[in-house]
């Protein structure tokens, strides 16, 4: 099964070359970050660290884990992802299922569809959303991070299309055996939909994990910040802080921040680990999803 024509060979070479460059631009900055996190801070400030740590030390990781701030923020992020993705999945499945039916089966389907799609096109804007969240008394609770995005419409539509791809015969068979629509959804469709759920689930996990902005505007105390909001505090670039700082007296405070550049790299790296761990576990569903068919002809 090999096509060894000249054209194919050239294509392969060019293809591999371009892909290598693309993947290097993704990986190299990360390796640089890793090297910085393991280097001595003096070498880092001289710009001497490339892809290999200079004066190897673990002190940055000690610093990152010592204060307890990092771990606290990490726990809040975990809490948010578990709660948030759980709610996302339940609501998405419950919405996508009826919407995947035809107009004949569900009256007013297109009205509901427009109702959902409109939220993708226009949003309330930051201040009105803030007022609603505050008005409902959610501010400064974990629910402010979880509820405003409870139904990710984009992912819901992906899930809906997956459901449409499932042959009707399966549902009909279940219905003939006396299953109610809810039983059909839980016992028949969901097992078949695992790859789809893994896909949208991963999207939801990444969205919740990466979102720093809502943590910043809804939380009243930095102690309640999820990980990404906390990291953002550290990352506010030194220059920006310098320009907004209040004169010479505050510079000393900034100095401490400056010394922490290696610590910052260490915390960024630690913050990326959970998502890196999740990917390989979900990978098997992705490949499976492509070849999986339930009605063999």
């Amino acid at each position: 099964m090999q096509y060894k024509t000249k054209g194919n060979k050239i294509f392969n070479v060019v293809n591999i070359f371009i892909l290598t460059i693309v993947s290097l631009t993704c990986i190299l900055p990360f390796i640089n970050l890793l090297a910085i996190s393991f280097s001595d801070s003096a070498a880092v400030s001289a710009g001497a660290v490339g892809f290999v740590p200079v004066d190897f030390t673990l002190s940055a990781y000690e610093y990152a884990l010592k204060g307890g701030k990092f771990l606290r923020a990490l726990l809040i992020s975990f809490e948010r992802v578990f709660l948030g993705v759980g709610i996302n999945l339940i609501l998405m499945i419950l919405t996508a299922y009826p919407l995947s039916k035809t107009r004949k089966q569900v009256t007013g389907r297109s009205v509901y569809m427009v109702y959902f799609v409109i939220t993708m096109l226009v949003s309330g804007g930051m201040i009105p959303t803030y007022l609603v969240v505050t008005g409902l008394g959610l501010k400064d609770t974990i629910w402010a991070l979880v509820l405003p995005g409870a139904v990710p419409v984009y992912n819901m539509i992906i899930l809906m299309n997956f459901m449409r791809g499932i042959p009707e015969e399966i549902e009909e068979a279940a219905a003939i055996d006396g299953a109610s629509p809810f039983q059909i959804l839980v016992k028949v469709l969901l097992p078949v939909l695992k790859p789809a759920l893994a896909t949208v689930g991963l999207f939801c996990i990444v969205t919740h994990w990466n979102d720093w902005f809502s943590g910043m505007i809804y939380m009243n105390n930095p102690n309640n910040y999820p990980l990404q909001t906390y990291l953002q505090t550290l990352l506010q670039s030194f220059e920006q802080l310098l320009r907004s700082s209040q004169g010479a007296q505050d510079i000393q405070a900034l100095l401490v921040q400056m010394d922490a550049r290696t610590g910052r790299a260490a915390q960024l790296f630690l913050g990326a680990i959970p998502v890196m761990i999740i990917y390989p576990f979900l990978q098997k569903y992705f490949t499976k999803g492509l070849v999986l068919g339930s009605v063999k002809g």
């Binding site: 003096a42 070498a43 400030s45 001289a46 710009g47 001497a48 930051m126 201040i127 803030y130 007022l131 505050t134 008005g135 409902l136 008394g137 910043m216 505007i217 939380m219 009243n220 105390n221 930095p222 102690n223 910040y225 909001t229 953002q232 505090t233 550290l234 506010q236 670039s237 030194f238 220059e239 802080l241 310098l242 209040q246 004169g247 010479a248 007296q249 505050d250 510079i251 000393q252 405070a253 900034l254 100095l255 401490v256 921040q257 400056m258 010394d259």
Partner: protein, 545 residues
């Protein structure tokens, strides 16, 4: 089947309603700053006496990554807040602490749930006054501000005036640590200069000669620069140009310093330096951090820079290259034989405003008096108490509860250098809050500690930034920004775009993409992009005085 559905529908509707009600009820009790007093508490007669009943004042503040909390301390419980309670029986609570103060504050204002006292900028001050959300502080300030506090305002009466709207005081300006921190210097590497037996620079030609000598002997490039042209702008005063501030032009009206003819002269000379390879040839790709890396990795030995070189990159230079490799500051010399005037801009950190709903607005004034007292008269108090307040960068905690003595840094410099001149073995405690600066300088002089290099080069050393700046201030060798107050409308909306146009144009000229005559085209572009309108507004608001 159908009946069951109906029951379910009713149940669900019921749930939704209950949820809404619960939300509303909660809102009823927690709206606004819930913890503030409902009734005013009687004011004690002596200004330093505590209230009979606890007064609660709510505030908000930005998160400051530099604060190193001691065990058990936090934003809600710290030496400052404990002192307020102990001295006045005033309990200060934080409605929120945020790492994006501006966004969060705007949301809070939109939500109309403002705290009792907080710090705003000039634009927010005007908005809050128009929305009738803040207190007219005119009478309260007169009655309760201490003489110390009033003294600051008399000294900076122009700035005090900017807190008035319609002739009434709505925002108390926080002032600044003083204009002594504004003039910039030329920083020259000490050991290289000594090795080559070079004299202190008296003219701009001397500076260039030093840069060239360094280049010949140590390689690299002569002068640092970054993509924002910060170094060029700092040097421009040597030609009588005043970039980034508004100045009086030849015809008596106000104009933007960056587009005046003097700027063209400066640009012409600078372009030549770039051609001669003196200015960092890669400056267009460098931000400030990258620029400083060049100094730490021994690429260069001359850098026009701010007074805080010793704080950044100072410690890194000492750690990597040793104490002799520090850069020392020199006054920016004249390029054309005329007097050099440093730029001084309007320095006010913000305005303190008090919510209309605050029942005891005079309590805020008491706390401001307290700050002024411990800041200026700290030697009257217990040393340990003062150290607690000023250690660990805790001064950033009373964010909205401080007005800063505009002579703070000036007086501190005198105190620290006078003590250093007498002896290196004084007890730092005798200097009050300035003791830390003194002992840091001593640490650097005695052991070359990298933690002390900042204070040493800013204040304590024989060649220090403030030594130069004090002279500039004493001899009035500076020019004040004509825009002494908040920015006008066009500048607020388009100011940074206008500056970007100029930076881009200047860069083109310097790297040789355009000839020097392009300057005139550039100025015309700048004017049509909004510069002309901005100039008009500035003349209207700040002209003829």
């Amino acid at each position: 089947m159908k009946k069951r559905k109906k029951v379910l529908a009713v149940l669900l509707t019921g749930c939704v309603m209950a949820g809404l009600l619960a939300g509303c009820m909660e809102q009823g009790t927690s709206g606004g700053s819930s913890k503030s007093n409902k009734e005013a508490v009687e004011i004690p007669e002596d200004p330093w006496d505590p209230y009979e009943e606890t007064v609660t004042i709510s505030t908000v503040l930005p998160e400051n990554a530099g604060i190193q909390f001691a065990e058990g301390d936090s934003y809600d419980d710290n030496p400052w807040y404990r002192a307020y309670k102990e001295w006045f029986n005033i309990e200060v609570v934080n409605d929120w602490v945020s790492n994006d103060y501006d966004t969060k504050l705007n949301l809070t204002i939109a939500d109309k749930s403002i705290p009792d006292v907080f710090c705003v900028d000039a634009q927010q001050l005007r908005q809050l006054k128009e929305a009738d959300m803040i207190y007219d502080l005119t009478d309260i300030f007169d009655e309760y501000a201490s003489d110390l506090l009033k003294g600051y305002m008399e000294q900076e009466s122009d700035t005090f005036e900017t807190g008035h709207l319609d002739g009434k005081l709505y925002g108390i300006p926080q002032l600044s640590y003083g204009i002594i921190d504004q003039p910039n210097q030329i920083w020259i590497r000490k050991d290289w200069k000594e090795n080559l037996k070079l004299e202190d620079p008296q003219t701009m030609d001397d500076v260039i000669a030093i840069a060239k000598a360094f280049q010949e002997n140590y390689g690299g490039y002569g002068l640092t620069e970054n993509q924002d042209l910060d170094c060029f702008k700092m040097l421009a005063v040597a030609w009588g140009a005043h970039p980034d501030i508004w100045v009086e032009t030849a015809d008596g009206s106000l104009g933007y310093g960056s587009v005046q003819p003097e700027m063209k002269e400066a640009l012409e000379a600078y372009t030549q330096w770039y051609k001669d390879g003196i200015v960092d040839p890669e400056f267009t790709t460098k931000d400030l951090e990258k620029m400083l890396e060049g100094e730490i990795s021994e690429q260069t030995g001359v850098s026009p820079y701010y007074q805080y070189w010793g704080y950044d990159p100072g410690p890194s230079v000492v750690q990597n290259l040793g104490t002799d490799a520090i850069f020392e500051p020199y006054k920016i010399p004249s390029a054309n034989g005329e007097e050099v005037l440093a730029n001084v801009t309007f320095a006010n950190y913000g305005y303190i405003v008090v919510s209309k709903d605050c029942k005891n607005p005079e309590a805020v004034l008491k706390l401001l008096n307290f700050y002024a007292h411990v800041m200026d008269e700290g030697d009257q108090e217990d040393t340990e108490f003062i150290n607690e307040l000023f250690g660990n960068a805790y001064t950033n905690i009373p964010y909205a509860l401080r007005v800063i003595n505009p002579d703070t840094d000036y007086n501190q410099f005198i105190k620290v250098t006078d003590t250093l001149a007498v002896s290196l073995d004084e007890d730092p405690a005798t200097l009050g809050k300035d003791g830390v600066k003194y002992s840091n300088c001593v640490d650097f002089i005695k052991e070359g500690a990298s933690t002390g290099v900042g204070d040493y080069l800013q204040q304590g050393g024989p060649k220090s930034a403030y030594r130069i700046s004090k002279e500039i201030i004493d001899n009035e060798e500076y020019i004040r920004d004509a825009m002494w107050g908040p920015q006008t409308e066009t500048l607020l909306s388009a100011g940074s775009t206008l500056d970007d146009i100029l930076i881009e144009g200047f860069t083109k000229i310097i790297v040789g993409e355009e000839s020097i005559d392009y300057f005139d085209t550039l100025v015309a572009d700048w004017e049509s992009a909004g510069g002309a309108k901005a100039t008009e507004e500035i003349n209207e608001t700040y002209g003829n005085n």
